[in-house]
């Protein structure tokens, strides 16, 4: 378009028109930014500012120092543990499951069924999921009764659905389907040529996995597990419905703080929310970086 006119305009400053257009064009994004500010950045800023203020409205760092007192460190540790266990456990199991339907030679229809089911299960979180597990693994749950009849009473050996282990079992229900959904494209992206090339050079299947497939998949797997971690860390409804708020998880403590100042210091509640945002931010950031690395191989 510009090539024909170029000789004539050679002396004219080329950057001018483009810059002027940009000067007004961003206004088209105004509704988006105004909405984001009103319903996301303004509330977030409020929490940030509040976390640096004490009850006398003075600027302070004391709230962050106080994060190491009372129930708060325990809540963070428990939440991190639950998230880590379900991210790694759900991640490994989800990976195996995706591997078995995509590369394990199972009938193709099972793959379709698994992907649909994973879409449902990864979105089936919250209250109904907690209830479903209560009816299954609660004191009088379906599976509990069966196990009891078989001579193994989980509640006799100390299992509680409202415990850390119980919450982890329930979180698994949406964690490993999410892993299946995230990792399936990466497994699909393993090209047959790579395997054939490795085999031509005399590699055993084990060597192919060790030196070719796994190094390619590692960023995807790690990134997906980090996303799973964040997914469990931010979940509130499921754990709250399941335990009635008895288990000390960060989202549950923050929930209690919203209802009534259980920490007896509003600023401390804000600081705790900031701690949660920081952990989520780091995990999403790492995920984005790893995702970018992974995409290098997936581009076809």
């Amino acid at each position: 378009m510009a090539s024909a006119a170029q000789p004539l305009e050679q002396g004219a400053p080329a950057a001018r028109p483009a810059r002027r257009r940009f000067g007004w064009a961003w206004l088209g994004l105004l509704p988006f930014f105004v909405f984001s500010i009103a319903f996301m950045f303004l509330p977030a800023t409020w929490l940030v500012l509040g976390s640096f203020r004490n009850s006398d409205d003075q600027v302070t760092l004391q709230n962050y120092a106080d994060l190491s007192t009372g129930i708060i460190p325990g809540a963070f540790l428990t939440t991190i543990e639950v998230s880590l266990v379900t991210a790694v456990g759900g991640g490994l199991f989800g990976l195996l499951l995706a591997y078995s339907v995509i590369l394990g030679g199972l009938p193709r229809i099972l793959r379709t069924a698994l992907m649909t089911f994973s879409g449902v299960a990864s979105n089936f979180a919250g209250v109904p999921l907690a209830l479903a597990f209560t009816f299954t693994l609660g004191q009088l749950g379906f599976l509990t009764v069966i196990l009891r009849d078989l001579g193994f009473d989980p509640y006799q050996s100390g299992f509680r659905l409202t415990s850390k282990l119980g919450v982890e079992l329930v979180y698994m229900y949406f964690q490993f389907p999410l892993m299946v959904l995230i990792i399936a494209p990466a497994l699909d992206g393993l090209r047959r040529e790579w395997r054939e090339a490795a085999e031509n050079m005399g590699a055993s299947p084990r060597q192919y996995w060790q030196h070719v497939a796994l190094p390619i998949l590692t960023p995807s797997i790690l990134g997906a597990m980090i996303l799973l971690f964040g997914n469990a860390f931010g979940a509130q409804a499921t754990a709250f419905q399941l335990t009635g708020g008895t288990l000390n998880l960060v989202p549950i403590v923050i929930g209690a703080q919203i209802r009534g100042d259980v920490l007896h210091n509003p600023g401390l509640g804000y600081a705790m929310a900031m701690g949660m945002v920081a952990i989520m931010g780091v995990s999403i950031g790492l995920y984005t970086i790893l995702q970018r690395r992974a995409e290098r191989w997936l581009r076809s």
Partner: protein, 292 residues
């Protein structure tokens, strides 16, 4: 999945051994696949299904009338009220989200590609700010002057929709952006402009219809999430919503919560089937809803 499987599939015992070993090793495609793969698949399937079976058996434990719980649910005006409320909120959320995201994604592609990283960053923020923190901030901001929205039902409903629209941004933006990548936005716009269309007309008559599929899949995901959402609705005291209704039911009633949970699972499934149906051919797209 052990020895008897050879006779189950109708082959004479020993027939399998008669097949030359090299042939079976070379062509695993003809076989039923790796037994370990089967084992893992069955384990996964059990994890999926057992809680649903447990819930189902719990829902029919009312004797002698085993469908009593279902009948009670269907007779309960609060059930339909909750469903209707959450459905309405979901539809409003979808409309608002589309009205914001489609022009934004279109404009970013056409005129301000330089701002794309900023917009993408903002749409990713709901993953960083979990719902419980978001509602924390929203309540604090909008329950103090100058804008006391939480004092009225209408105000609380507005905050609820606003929060849900924010939650819908990540996948709505991604769905719309992939949709826009598949059509030639610039040519379509120039064609429409040369025929005398203004911006509103271009968006409404050209861009929206061309994005129908991706918009619908984003919309169904939003609906599935909004209908089951609990945290935000609960803290905003929207007790009419489906999530808080089910939660309360779960604390007070013995059998009906099981029936409602199954119905809720069925609704999620319908939404996902709709998405899968719409997304045929769109390979490798992942729908990640975020934490609840």
């Amino acid at each position: 999945m052990t020895a008897p499987s050879t006779s189950i599939d109708g082959r004479a015992p020993g027939a399998l051994e008669a097949v030359p070993r090299a042939a079976t090793a070379r062509r695993p495609r003809r076989s039923f696949g790796n037994p370990i793969a089967w084992l893992i698949f069955i384990l996964g399937a059990l994890y999926f299904i057992v809680p649903l079976v447990g819930t189902f058996f719990h829902s029919i434990r009312t004797r002698p009338d085993i469908f009593l719980a279902y009948r009670q649910v269907l007779d309960d005006p609060k059930f339909f009220g909750g469903l209707a409320y959450s459905f309405t909120v979901g539809v409003i959320t979808i409309v608002v989200s589309l009205l914001i995201i489609v022009p934004t994604a279109y404009w970013v592609r056409l005129r301000v590609p330089r701002l794309r990283p900023v917009v993408e960053f903002v749409t990713l923020m709901p993953f960083v700010i979990p719902p419980v923190v978001l509602v924390f901030g929203l309540i604090r901001v909008y329950s103090s002057r100058p804008l006391v929205l939480t004092a009225t039902d209408l105000g609380s409903d507005m905050i609820l929709v606003g929060a849900y629209v924010i939650l819908s941004f990540p996948y709505m933006y991604r769905a719309v952006d992939t949709g826009l990548a598949a059509i030639d936005v610039r040519s379509l716009t120039e064609a429409a402009q040369s025929l005398g269309s203004g911006w509103a007309r271009i968006l409404w008559r050209v861009i929206f219809p061309n994005l129908r599929t991706s918009l619908l899949s984003g919309a169904f995901l939003t609906l599935a999430i909004v209908i089951g959402e609990y945290t935000i609705a609960n803290f905003l005291a929207r007790t009419d919503a489906f999530g808080p209704y089910l939660s309360l039911l779960g604390r007070n009633q013995p059998y009906t919560p099981a029936a409602v949970s199954l119905i809720s699972f069925g609704l999620t499934w319908l939404a996902m089937i709709a998405i899968a149906f719409l997304g045929r051919g769109a390979r490798g797209r992942v729908q990640v809803a975020g934490a609840r």
